[in-house]
Symmetry: C2
Subunit: 742 residues, 2 copies
Amino acid sequence: MTGNARAKRAKVARWSILASLLLAGQLAEAKGETPERRWTLEDIVTAPKVTSLALSSDGSELAYIQRAGDIEKNQTMHIVYRLDLSTGERTEMVRSGVAMQLEAIEGERAWNVLLDMGEGQQLYRVDAGSKAELVLASEASVTVGETEGGLFAISFIAPHRVGVLAYDWSPDRKWLWYAALKPGSAKPEVHFDNEVVLQKQRRRAPVSAVVELRLRSASGEDMLVATRPASDRLAFHYAGTVSWANDGLRYYVETTSGTQSDKSEAFELKFGSTTSIRAGEQQGLPSVDFVKGPRGGLLTTDGYGSALELVEARADGTRHSYGRYPFYLGHPRAAGSWRSADGRRTILGMRTTTHPRYGLALVSSRGARAIVTQGSLTQCDFRENLDWGICVEESMTQPPRLVKVEPANGKVSHIIPLSARHEAITPLRVTSHQWKNRSGHTATGFIVWPREYDPARRYPSILVTHGGDADERFADQDLQWEYPIQLWAERGYVVILANEPSPRQSPELMAAFAQWVSGTGPLSPVEVQRRAWLNVVETFEDVVSQLVLKGIVDSTRVGIAGYSRGSQITNVAITQSEHFKVASSGDGHFLEPAIYPISIRSYGAIFGGPPAGKYLEHYLRISPSLRADRVCAPVIQQVAGPHAGAIDFHVALRAAGVPAHISMYPGETTASEETHLFHIPSNRLLAMRENLAWFDFWLLGKRDPDAPFSEHFDRWAAMADGFSKNCLVKADRNQDEAPSVR
Amino acid sequence: MTGNARAKRAKVARWSILASLLLAGQLAEAKGETPERRWTLEDIVTAPKVTSLALSSDGSELAYIQRAGDIEKNQTMHIVYRLDLSTGERTEMVRSGVAMQLEAIEGERAWNVLLDMGEGQQLYRVDAGSKAELVLASEASVTVGETEGGLFAISFIAPHRVGVLAYDWSPDRKWLWYAALKPGSAKPEVHFDNEVVLQKQRRRAPVSAVVELRLRSASGEDMLVATRPASDRLAFHYAGTVSWANDGLRYYVETTSGTQSDKSEAFELKFGSTTSIRAGEQQGLPSVDFVKGPRGGLLTTDGYGSALELVEARADGTRHSYGRYPFYLGHPRAAGSWRSADGRRTILGMRTTTHPRYGLALVSSRGARAIVTQGSLTQCDFRENLDWGICVEESMTQPPRLVKVEPANGKVSHIIPLSARHEAITPLRVTSHQWKNRSGHTATGFIVWPREYDPARRYPSILVTHGGDADERFADQDLQWEYPIQLWAERGYVVILANEPSPRQSPELMAAFAQWVSGTGPLSPVEVQRRAWLNVVETFEDVVSQLVLKGIVDSTRVGIAGYSRGSQITNVAITQSEHFKVASSGDGHFLEPAIYPISIRSYGAIFGGPPAGKYLEHYLRISPSLRADRVCAPVIQQVAGPHAGAIDFHVALRAAGVPAHISMYPGETTASEETHLFHIPSNRLLAMRENLAWFDFWLLGKRDPDAPFSEHFDRWAAMADGFSKNCLVKADRNQDEAPSVR
């Protein structure tokens, strides 16, 4: 902080001036040195993501957790920062491979947070002055993550030992409820039937662990309340979602014995007692996120497309409409919710539909109002009276910054940028779009334009897709995975970030997605495939065609890339469409016959049954490996493990003479795996360089001198030789005889 | 040894009398206590197998390695015994999880052997008096076996650390050549293409290791001669197959860099030099087993069926025939070969064709003669002059015993039985058979008869198959795996041990098997499938029909069981035939589409290409999981790991409403696997009890009170309920519309 800023403090309203000066100063400082700073791969890997923030109890300080790749350590690190809101002074309190569940401590300028400081994941106290102080430790003998002997749990961090899974203080802080992870039986056992089937896609054997739900009193007495299997999701992830009363508490467990039952059971425990008392069973798991509105009902958004409506539904069945809004509640990445003590106002995180970003909705008896900026408000915390709060604001072009939000007047004012490094990059031009496909469905998305775009030229283009994750966030891995979209733009590609047509726009689409999830419904497999996959591919064909028609994109040089859901779409696109000349498919193998045993429910909707007999025709329509002989695009697959379906597709492509390459990125050791979203910076850097080289090779005919595995070029070239001839023949043949699925 | 026996020693020819008395005495002793001793599962698990034997240099003592399950320790153990041939006194020299490469030390009554005495696999010296003495140790930091961090190698013992892989003394014992296993790079690396594909069926990541070929002088100087990748099979398994000259040595390595090239390269090293000199490259790996005959040519057997001929082929292309014999050389389980110093006589291990057992062939310029007994001679060692040797003799009904073999007169005389426990069992009746199938092919095999067989009754029957492994060996795991054939006979089943029609009987069959191995040849996939799989199933149908016709077998109560190759046949049998009412399929998944990526060569012969497009019809003809809806037999699968194809078949069966059960047996820890041939006694016992319960349930309608997992009966019964109706419908439908493959 500069003396200049400090001098002005007394004169003006504290927030906005201070903040904007801080921002201006830091931006000027950052940008002053290099007039045009271009994107690097290291910028992408080190792009910060705020995963949590919390105001101190008196509102004078803010703590937040920032996650980013640490290239030097080659780890994804979490840093817990503290910001003095009166001085703008920011200090690092602690850094750790794990940091979660950040909560302000009542009456102090301090926070609780779960950290791994070398003794496994435990509960700490952090504040401005001292180093992190251990509050509660439970012996951490279970490792969570994809490593030998580890408890498998979907995670995007390195395998780590866990003592305390989650915690919850009683309002008076006299009682500390927590979940501890403990080893189960280590005796190897014979496995049967579904226990075996579920290991088809697991590289390592499952290990046994249990969750202990425990209560600690102010005097330090520690009591085991219940022991649950690690498969109890309520116990494992939410420590049983405890709710406190004056004389005791209530907690919930999933009524399961190893399988997921979708039923839960409540228990009550009186303080001082050692015995839990059953308090009823219910369908479903108790939601922690239903938000009450000013009328005492639950706030929700209903309807489709432009008829999307904000509604308060009361227990008596009546509903109050706040009107139609182009946003919806309940997105897992939207900000949380806050309700004023008098219950008259509620703030909720939401996501907008037409230009996808995250904002807030203020709901009171007077009505509802959206608080949106050009970017997204992705993490927030508000004062109890909702007078003001702090959020992270970010966008495709704006690195995360802290802003102050005043709900009453909707004012959003800058406080401080979080990354000078990223502020220093000269932003690329990114435009937001809506595209209508041939069936009348609308897809949203963005175009990242080449740094020096010339409207007179046609550009090579790469379409990147991952479900609906193209939205206003900064270099977020959720969308771009290991696809270096910014560097492609720097290199002269028109990069299309395309969302699928949202099922929220039409009950017809929603029905297919719902049936995919539940496995049952009125649609035929052909209809489910058409609406949830082929319609997406058609949409992207139409997006490309529109950009070709406008003279922007060169139709002969269009690639497609996507991981996970995006990998499904990529694989279906190249086996159904001739629009895409090259593809990069990331860590996916859904729709492959190999996955049937672990996807029986959803495959029931998509294919009707197993890949044999009368159901086989449904696989032949859409399973990528069964259509490899129709592919006219070289395919790279980058995977975090030897997934059977991904390997089947690779081998099928090679058998069909299609240039195909698969790269498997390793974990920290040979005994562990990289995660679905890569968490090892060196893997991210290599995989992005590999993608740069792959698309340059196939779309531009260039051998990238920065390729990480330059020895592969000769093999690619050899595959290219045989391929082009084959593919012309194939294209002809397909036009003649292809029994079109669509 | 009794005083009685010792007194007679001077009077008679030492060998035969001593031996037969010893035998008679021990047998009487063993049998005296229980007049009829029936088979137990523990008898099967503890059945001894001699894996190696070696006479001392003066012929006065014999050492042998005996492998057997140790139920108390729950390990497969190797015990190295020493037998004083003059007194008949037998002593245990050492026991170890690993014992291999037993070799007599010239000029001493002592042996070298590789053992793991706690420091990993190292070279030891053993003799009568003292405990095993370490001769050579190399730091054992690499674990071999299916465990995390282990180097994967097909093995039937527990994962263990290896220092010395193999050794070879120079004839003057001044030089010790050996192969040491060392860790390679532990740095996790990105894997590409085939490196990834090969991991489709591997549960854990490959680790890197190298083989050091080293030479140690008499004075203890130790020199690294060459470092080879662990994938070099010549280096890994044979320490480079060294051959000694007066001034140096020659060794061979596989010219490979990670892939198997089927080419080798020779190097020469002079004593005292540190540099190997290239000495030529050749196609193929140098065989260690070509045996010279009295005419200086190589001995081999040629031809098919009754025209099988013993031949000596000279380098000049001429060949000498010793005539037609019903045996062949070169079977991997036949005894080795010995050539007299003057080169005039050679003894070779062989296997007979009509009543399958192992014997010896003595070949001299006067002609050839077979040495066979009613059982098999499976391990031997001979004196240098071939005057006499010691072999193990065993049969279906006879536990292993040591015998003396005098080649000159073909005399085989008993020395000592190796297992009093197994001698004590009242033998079951086992008969040897040849069956002709509808196509004129002959299959050999055995029937194990119920203990109290009543010719007036028809019996339930179980056919057990594993390639050609039904031969005269005692309770050998190679054939019976975890199928308790002796206990089935005790329980009143007629147990059929059926070999496939041997391809040695006809060029037509041989062509199909050769094409399966090489991947190329003149036959269509349909023909390969017909000759190598469907013909086997037809054969077994015909065997059963013949036994039904004779009134022996109840056609409504016939089961089939087999592991590995037997699992292929079992799975094909139940998806193509209605003869088998219940099945047990062990640790196999060949022919499944899931295996294509790791079986591209052989699947080329069997299916033409990958499971898609025009090749799919070939999979539909024979892949078990694609024909699950035709199965009318409940199927249990017992596996040593979560093999994708086995799981696919299980899931397909369940989807088709067929009662199906899969059990996966664990390794020593959750970080390791059971091996293809189970090596953990508790797993063997459980799996056999599971098979007893499975067949009793489905063939006899009984719930075995000794079932290891009795809680499964209710589930089996529930599956049975829905099934019987379905299956009648299916049987009708199949008769109407089945497009018969055969």
